[in-house]
Assembly symmetry: C2
DNA sequence: ACCTTTATACTCATGTTGAGCATAATAGGG
DNA sequence: CCCTATTATGCTCAACATGAGTATAAAGGT
């Protein structure tokens, strides 16, 4: 069985990060590496275009997964090479879903997300208490606190995969819960797809801190607030407005278009565009996140 | 053809980063994923142990490579899933080689490495001038300057792979040079192994900045200078001594053993040990590098 | 005693970051 | 036309981090 190529396409629409799915949101675009494919990336592009009609721009390899072998099953097991692609939604495209539909607890900009983490903390405390020994219980509690930023440790937006795997182990997600047991809100996916999505989210959240990839998710011109809302949507965390502007300004990666945003409430905002020329011409420090404390 | 698992084992000995090789330094430990392997990592461990006798500790997946399909060749091509492992050299083990034997220009702590970059800059200027159009020439020059830190841009120690691939394109390494043509110093390896090694070096150099992985390369007790020399050896860059100590001290990741180093010249240095307990108990900021300017 | 060598403690200027205050410019209601 | 709500934008401040350098301590060798 040849390795499978699987893609996570991300776009941001109306300040919501979206992922392109198939089969009613249960699958990601994917297909086997074939002899005719000139490279892994070529194969991926062909499959994605064939299945979704969406042409890929820049893609980045994420991780290679293998599922566990089945006793008495086929000799070979599925190997999945996953990729992340940043793009924009084209008119009329279907299959795009908000990524927080799959991971509601990852949205710490909204009160619902924060409340959900409080609820999860309670459930995981129960799980920790069910460990066989006192030492194990303590280890579980420490892991929970670190992963979900409890006890004053602070929320780390990059721990998407770790949080999902912890909830998986605790039987709180549909993929692992005993039948009939209550599970957390959040859509499940087929096979390992939700792990792949979690990996993509974590990578993107990490990457916007040190590479200006956020602009691949923006339209040609945008206001500073729009840019900030996009970063907040991806990071799942609120930011300090003035400091965000200061940072963006001193990076010198954008320039004014000279126009102002139409149909605005309040004072009209100037429009900016990304200066594509600077990519490659300069060492890019990226876009550190002036994160406000999660109120 | 099942995917192949390939490992880059790194250790530091006598302030030199070393890599475990086979076949006189031309190969890295590797082997195909088999039906009996419980996971990718398990398979990797078995192959490495079988081929080198070295048991693996913590490993990290690096990247998945595929070679180009050959016209008229077999239907399937080699897929390599690569891993990085940090370890220590055990007594009597053979096959360890200094990684700067393969990439001499990556050692910017020594004058030889810095001189070599000056020479490379000249050769690449010639290569840039041979581009077909003025625009292409300029693009090449920009890429060279950025990748090798010319024109005041500063050396970026994490661009190991980019530098190797540029030299490959320019035909300056044995893997790509026309037969009989002069090439740069630095041992070649079989197949794609040198690219895998470059990927591992880049990842490790990046990682020591934000995770305390350097301690996996240290003996149980060490002096601060020994620690600094190890970081410098990995990063290939000199650092400011006092600031390095300040950083290490305020991280609180190490503690005094109470003893001092034997057989020292000058004032004897206190010995320290890594506090394993803090891993997992705390969010680790890692070990930023107080890099001195490359004199 | 003095010199070389390494260890270690401080100082200082500059830059970065988190937080907040103040003011500007628009629309819409009274 | 004034007032208010709303968003945009400019500016200050304290705390902390960082790069660089000076000064002093403790050993061995001649």
């Amino acid at each position: 069985m040849p390795p499978e190529l699987i893609a996570v396409l991300i776009a941001v629409s109306d300040d919501r990060p979206m992922v392109l799915t198939l089969d009613g949101g249960r699958l990601l675009p994917s297909g086997p590496l074939e002899a005719g494919h000139r490279s892994l990336q070529t194969g991926l592009r062909l499959w994605v275009e064939h299945q979704t009609g969406h042409a890929l721009g820049h893609v980045e390899q994420l991780y290679t997964f293998a599922d566990a072998p089945v006793d008495g099953g086929p000799d070979e097991r599925r190997v999945m090479i996953s990729y992340l692609a940043l793009t924009r939604i084209r008119r009329g495209e279907r299959g795009w879903r908000g990524w927080y539909e799959y991971f509601p607890w990852e949205d710490q900009t909204a009160p619902e997300g924060r409340d959900l983490v409080v609820r999860i903390a309670g459930l995981l405390e129960g799980w920790a208490g069910r460990a066989p020994s006192a030492a194990r219980q303590e280890a579980r509690r420490q892991r929970v606190a670190l992963t979900f930023g409890l006890e004053g440790l602070g929320w780390d937006d990059e721990l998407v995969l770790q949080r999902y795997e912890l909830l998986w182990e605790a039987g709180l997600v549909p993929e692992s819960a005993p039948p009939g047991e209550a599970v957390l809100p959040g859509m499940g996916m087929a096979r390992d797809e939700r792990r792949v999505l979690a990996t993509a989210m974590a990578r993107l959240r990490a990457k916007i801190r040190y590479r200006p990839v956020i602009y691949e998710l923006m339209p040609d011109s945008f206001t500073l607030l729009h840019l900030q809302r996009t970063v907040e949507a991806v990071a799942g965390q609120p930011m300090h407005k003035q400091n965000f502007r200061r940072l963006v300004a001193q990076q010198g990666l954008i320039e004014e278009t000279g126009e102002v945003a139409p149909d605005t409430r309040g004072r009209p905002a100037r429009l900016f565009r990304f200066r594509r020329e600077v990519i490659g011409a300069r060492r890019i420090a990226g876009s550190k996140l002036p994160l406000a404390r999660a109120v």
